[in-house]
């Protein structure tokens, strides 16, 4: 997993070209103000998916931040279009979705849209910068198949749920139980790290 963002971490977004999409003007202003504050100099704003699609066809973006609930075409459908039909230069760009609320019926749609992250509104600069830093540093593979195009959704590697065997042969058990032996001493740990000659 990528390292967390610290206040002393140096970030450089001067060369980044960013698209922010939100149909609500005041919300778009807030998003734009936040992203500009992060040092982004080339920022494109769109108030509809149609406008965003037009921009995507003529510019190459390094990051897209999109609202979810929009009239006619929503953010999920926009990302699905981007991942499947968008220009090659933008198809794999990191996408952060922002939403005030996720409808129960849309939980799976959110999961399957192909975004890198979903952030809850109202957004705060700190949280958004942490997520931007996270998507910039993550090393997730991309998956392309009939039913999904986007970053690999299995990235936590926490093993199957407790009490189940998992579906893969190499799944680790989620429930490791209590420790059976005392903790190792520091010397024992160090000895595991020691370089030793081996005979081949």
């Amino acid at each position: 997993m990528p390292e967390p963002l610290n206040s002393s971490t140096r970030i450089n977004l001067e060369r980044a070209t960013v698209l922010v999409l939100d149909d609500n003007g005041p919300s778009l202003d807030i998003l734009s103000g936040v992203v500009s504050g992060f040092g982004v100099r080339t920022l494109h704003r769109a108030e509809s998916v149609k406008d965003a699609q037009a921009l995507i066809k003529i510019h190459t973006f390094d990051l897209i931040i999109s609202d979810v609930q929009m009239p006619e075409v929503d953010g999920y459908e926009f990302i699905q279009w981007l991942r499947r039909e968008g220009p090659e230069t933008n198809r794999y760009v990191p996408v952060i979705l922002v939403t005030g609320h996720t409808r129960t019926a849309q939980v799976f749609k959110n999961r399957d849209a192909g975004s890198n992250f979903t952030v809850a509104k109202p957004i705060t600069p700190k949280v958004l910068l942490e997520r931007i830093f996270w998507v910039a540093r993550e090393e997730r593979a991309f998956i392309e198949c009939d039913t999904y195009v986007g970053p690999d959704r299995r990235f936590k590697h926490e093993g199957p749920p407790v009490g189940t065997d998992g579906r893969r042969k190499d799944d680790l058990q989620g429930d490791v139980g209590d420790a059976q032996e005392p903790n190792m001493s520091q010397d024992e740990i160090n000895s595991l790290m020691k370089i030793a000659k081996v005979q081949i």
Partner: protein
């Protein structure tokens, strides 16, 4: 089904590490300063959205029974969008609770007007005096709203 797994280049990853740039704390401070300039207009938008909801969905609104779920849901999202400026009053959380309530009503296909009324009264109260309420009272009120929404 064919599954292709690959690692496309991440341009953002390359440029965020470029020389120069700014400290994260300074980036956050600059973003907060930019957002602060939007306080008045955002709170005006919040008040406008709340008034619009009360006019169409309030207890005395004449035609509320004929309104659809989507309208109230969408209008409430507009409150959440700018509610960061009223987060200390709990307005953001109350609006999220109202969205959850309306989502539940939409799933069931039936309005729960008593619960809607409670949420609208709470939103108005929180908007007016929420920031000055003792924290435990505000917390209790928000927890109560969540319970009402989930019932």
């Amino acid at each position: 089904m064919t599954v292709r797994k690959f690692r496309p280049p991440n341009r953002l990853a390359a440029m965020i590490k470029d020389r120069g740039g700014i400290l994260a704390k300074d980036a956050i401070a600059a973003a907060e300063a930019n957002v602060e300039t939007l306080r008045d207009s955002s709170l005006a938008a919040l008040d406008e959205a709340l008034e619009g909801i009360e006019a169409r969905f309030g207890a005395t609104a004449p035609g509320r029974a004929g309104e659809d779920f989507e309208t109230l849901y969408t209008m409430t999202l507009k409150i959440i969008d700018v509610a960061g400026f009223a987060a200390d009053a709990g307005v953001d959380e109350a609006a999220v609770s109202l969205c959850a309530l309306v989502d539940g009503c939409a799933d069931a296909g039936v309005w729960r007007w008593d619960a809607v009324d409670v949420h609208l009264s709470a939103l108005r109260l929180l908007r007016n005096v929420g920031a000055s309420l003792p924290a435990d009272q505000r917390r209790g009120m928000l927890d109560g709203l969540h319970k009402v929404a989930q019932r």
